[in-house]
Symmetry: C2
Subunit: 233 residues, 2 copies
């Protein structure tokens, strides 16, 4: 069977993708990258997800190396100078959470890893809800990056969630029995989901819309309803 | 003036590009990346070139971090298991010198760095002589990567040497008074150019074709003539 490298952040999107690859019969290896993110707690989640799914996992620690690269960034997730904004994931104030060129960095590392071991596919879980804030999650980026990666390495980029909402991913993950309780979405340091940052709000809203029980413990479990764009009644 | 980030390896192509950017009036910052390359001596050359040109230089050390990424590669330049091949740069046996996805990695780091500091341009010195061996130096890769980087970060990729031969770069560098004696091309560990690897042969041949005196000390200074494709008589 062909080998797929999945970029496993520890979030529920990439964890669902991992399980989908396994269901599709790929030989799957998880690649988890620390790039200096404030929300490094997600990597503990990635470890737990890989272990629970019994897939090999390779970890890459770029944190110290990338410090001079991000030194002048004002991102709340790598700069360290800006605090994590609260509110809905699609609000304008979430732009500060963008990590400059994050996904091309991760995909370039995944490309080097896949080409080095002869893997056929890189799987990447960007979804439609990411498009508002993250230019490197949009379909035009994904297709351009896929072409670039293929020209450089021959590896195929597989991004099956790019048109799905987070709620649809929760539904897929639920049917694949993804252990959602092990996944991590929050942009703060942890160890408990804050419930107020954009990714916590998006997560809680997605479980609500998917009509799937949310196993997550939030510090503030009701805040999301006050900023939600979902029909709550 | 707009700021340009130049990927400065310490070779003569990127050193010439650095001087061309300065001549064109860019605010120029050099970015030098250790990715675990056997020929790490080039980074000492990069330091010397940046210092001599009096441009700021930022160094990124990905060596340890990328070891698990390249672990299964058989590249002579990062694997450590394969020796550096001798002969002409365009020979089939040079394929072993390819570092999987090297340039996308470097350009992704440069994109993150440029976007973090608001630089407008990334400058990258791939040239026509690289095309035979390195898929990630070819014009179709460069234009796809330029689009990808621009979509992710808004930064422009500038690769003015992609249609030039190495000899033409030597001529340009010569007219810009690039201190060629400080640059490093050899694929071995150094500290003296071996004269027998593909990049040494290409370098010696380029100076000959450009009719520019070659300041390089080679361990074997005549080998290149035995494998050269240039009209020597």
């Amino acid at each position: 069977m062909r080998e797929a490298v999945v970029l496993l952040s520890g979030g529920l999107d990439s964890s669902t993708l991992l399980h989908e690859l396994l269901a599709d019969g790929y030989d799957t290896v998880a690649l988890s990258v620390f790039y200096g993110q404030r929300h490094a707690w997600e990597l503990k989640a990635a470890d737990a997800i890989a272990r629970a799914a019994d897939v090999p996992q390779v970890k890459v620690d770029l944190g110290a190396a990338l410090r001079p690269v991000f030194a002048d960034s004002n991102s709340s997730q790598v700069g360290g100078q800006t605090s994590v904004p609260e509110g809905h994931y699609a609000e304008d104030n979430m732009a500060i959470t963008v990590v400059p060129n994050r996904n091309l960095l991760l995909l370039a590392v995944a490309g080097a890893f896949a080409a080095s071991r002869g893997a056929a596919v890189i799987a990447y879980a960007a979804h439609a809800g990411d498009h508002a804030q993250y230019p490197d999650c949009r379909p035009e980026f994904i297709s351009s990056c896929a072409k670039t990666l293929h020209l450089a390495t021959g590896v195929v980029l597989y991004a099956p969630f790019q048109a799905l909402t987070k709620a649809e991913i929760v539904q897929r993950g639920n049917s694949l029995r993804v252990p959602f309780g092990l996944t991590w979405s929050c942009y703060t340091e942890g160890p408990i989901h804050c419930g107020r940052c954009g990714t916590c709000v998006e997560r809680a809203e997605a479980f609500f819309l998917a009509q799937v029980p949310d196993p997550t413990e939030y510090i503030d479990s009701d805040y999301w309803k006050t900023v939600s764009r979902a029909p709550l009644a």
